[in-house]
């Protein structure tokens, strides 16, 4: 059986078991709706789900772009200036101990109920893995190659362009793939705490009205969005890191 068929077989088996359980038991749909009911709802409410999904997607994409820009600047500075790494590394690590739920109300208080606070929320949650991966990539470059570039009289910019940056690309993409898949968490938490649109907002609304089927439909759209972003990053990874076989990577 082909490798890329396996996830669909597994998913189909899971959904069929779920459907069977819902139909054979007396469980109420507001506790656990059957997958067929959720799929029907997705078809019926497609415009609503797409509108809120688009809002969340924009927050994730802009959050990712923002965090990537910040991560590239910071990782480069920390690599070039060891003093900067010494000064910033403890702060970066400590920042990861702050619960995102504690941060969300603050960002909303500072930036309002609009998209800005959710974009920043997504950026905050993915900034750390991208920065750490990129810095690790820069640092893993072989001494022999550094000696070669030194012998060629390459300046810092040329060494970065021809050696460190391409060398760190696989590390950067590994971090970015993890980042986009968790970016949704940041955006949705932001929407839960305070917003007027987005899948997080829709989930809160549906939950309050015991519309469990709509909650599941929102989760399904959010999952599809995360998979799409993951695949998009993988596509760019294949284009940019052509010298590494990424066929077997997740």
């Amino acid at each position: 059986m082909k490798r890329n068929v396996l996830p669909f077989v597994f998913l189909a088996g899971f959904l069929l078991s779920w459907e069977f359980f819902c139909r054979s038991s007396e469980i109420q749909p507001f506790i656990l709706p059957a997958p067929s009911r959720i799929l029907l709802l997705i078809a019926e409410e497609a415009p609503l789900l797409l509108m809120h999904g688009a809002s969340t997607a924009i927050e994730i994409i802009f959050g990712t772009v923002l965090s990537v820009i910040a991560a590239v600047i910071l990782a480069t500075a920390m690599f070039l200036f060891p003093a900067a790494e010494k000064a910033l590394a403890p702060i970066l690590v400590a920042s990861q101990a702050i619960p995102v739920f504690a941060l969300a109300p603050l960002l909303i208080a500072w930036l309002g109920y609009g998209m800005g606070s959710k974009i920043l929320m997504a950026a905050v949650i993915i900034f750390f893995p991208v920065t750490v991966s990129l810095l690790q990539g820069f640092k893993s470059c072989g001494t022999d190659l550094e000696r070669l570039f030194s012998a060629m009289g390459a300046n810092t910019w040329k060494t970065f362009r021809f050696l460190y940056w391409p060398w760190a690309m696989p590390y950067f993409f590994a971090g970015l793939r993890v980042a986009v898949s968790v970016a949704a968490i940041g955006a949705v938490i932001g929407e839960w705490v305070g917003s007027m649109r987005g899948l997080g907002f829709l989930m809160m609304q549906a939950n309050a009205r015991l519309r469990t089927d709509l909650v599941f439909a929102s989760i399904a759209v959010l999952s599809a969005l995360s998979i799409f972003l993951w695949k998009t990053v993988s596509f760019f990874e294949k284009k940019c890191v052509h010298w590494i076989d990424t066929t077997n990577s997740l």
Partner: protein, 244 residues
């Protein structure tokens, strides 16, 4: 051409290179032969200015210089080709780090590829070629440094016997075509005997010049030559004597 006078280097109060001196004339190939770990690579790092020396002087064409940066090319035992660049781009790297390669640079690289038996492979990536071809590309890159001096750090230790044979003759061809002054560190006695004009036998801990042998034969050097065989036995005896 290159004169090293009384180089010394210590790491953590341990003398690694002690009062090391030698002279290599223009267009010659000098082999620095010594056991693994005797400090040969550290010596190259000192020459290239990658690490600072504790004492000693370095002269290039009679003029004192701090190091050989911008005057010497460097070739290591690994090919050190960048997998994201094609073979042509890899060979032209010493040019690319200074300026955008011109049409004549590209032509020169292609001509060099022809000489080295790499014709038509310029657009391939390192993963598409054999280890021997990659090492020949590394040799092309070394020439395109366009420096009068070439430092070779065990350049043939990671290749098979047939590739080694090819690379040896290519190195000699390049030396006569481009009139480079070559310094080669090696622990392979045969490499040193077949390629070098003079061999400096090194002792370890700390590294010092133990003896200098001038290898000159009127004819082309061959592996089974009785003259070279006698020299080989002498060198091996010296190295074994030191080891025991």
């Amino acid at each position: 051409m290159i004169e090293v006078k009384n180089f010394t280097k210590s790491f953590h109060n341990r003398l690694v290179i002690g009062d090391f001196s030698f002279f290599a004339g223009e267009g010659t190939l000098t082999a620095l032969l010594g056991p693994s770990g005797c400090g040969k690579s550290t010596f190259f790092d000192l020459l290239m200015g990658n690490i600072s020396r504790d004492g000693g002087q370095l002269f290039l064409a009679g003029k004192e210089v701090p190091d050989l940066k911008n005057a010497a090319a460097f070739m290591a035992q690994k090919d050190l080709l960048l997998p994201w660049l094609t073979l042509r781009e890899n060979a032209l790297l010493p040019v690319s780090v200074k300026k955008t390669p011109s049409a004549s640079d590209l032509r020169e690289a292609d001509e060099l590829f022809e000489i080295l038996g790499l014709g038509g492979t310029g657009d391939l990536y390192p993963r598409h070629v054999s280890g021997g071809m990659a090492q020949r590309c590394a040799l092309a890159r070394t020439i395109l440094f366009r420096t009068p001096i070439v430092l070779l750090d065990e350049p043939f230790s990671a290749v098979d016997a047939i590739t080694r044979q090819t690379l040896r003759s290519l190195l000699l061809q390049i030396r006569s075509n481009f009139r480079k002054t070559l310094l080669m560190i090696t622990h392979d006695v045969e490499d040193a005997l077949l390629l070098a004009d003079s061999i400096i036998i090194l002792s370890s801990a700390p590294m010092t010049a133990r003896e200098k042998l001038v290898i000159s034969t009127p004819k082309e050097k061959r592996s089974g030559d009785p003259f070279l065989q006698a020299k080989k036995e002498k060198i091996l005896a010296m190295l074994q004597e030191k080891a025991s």
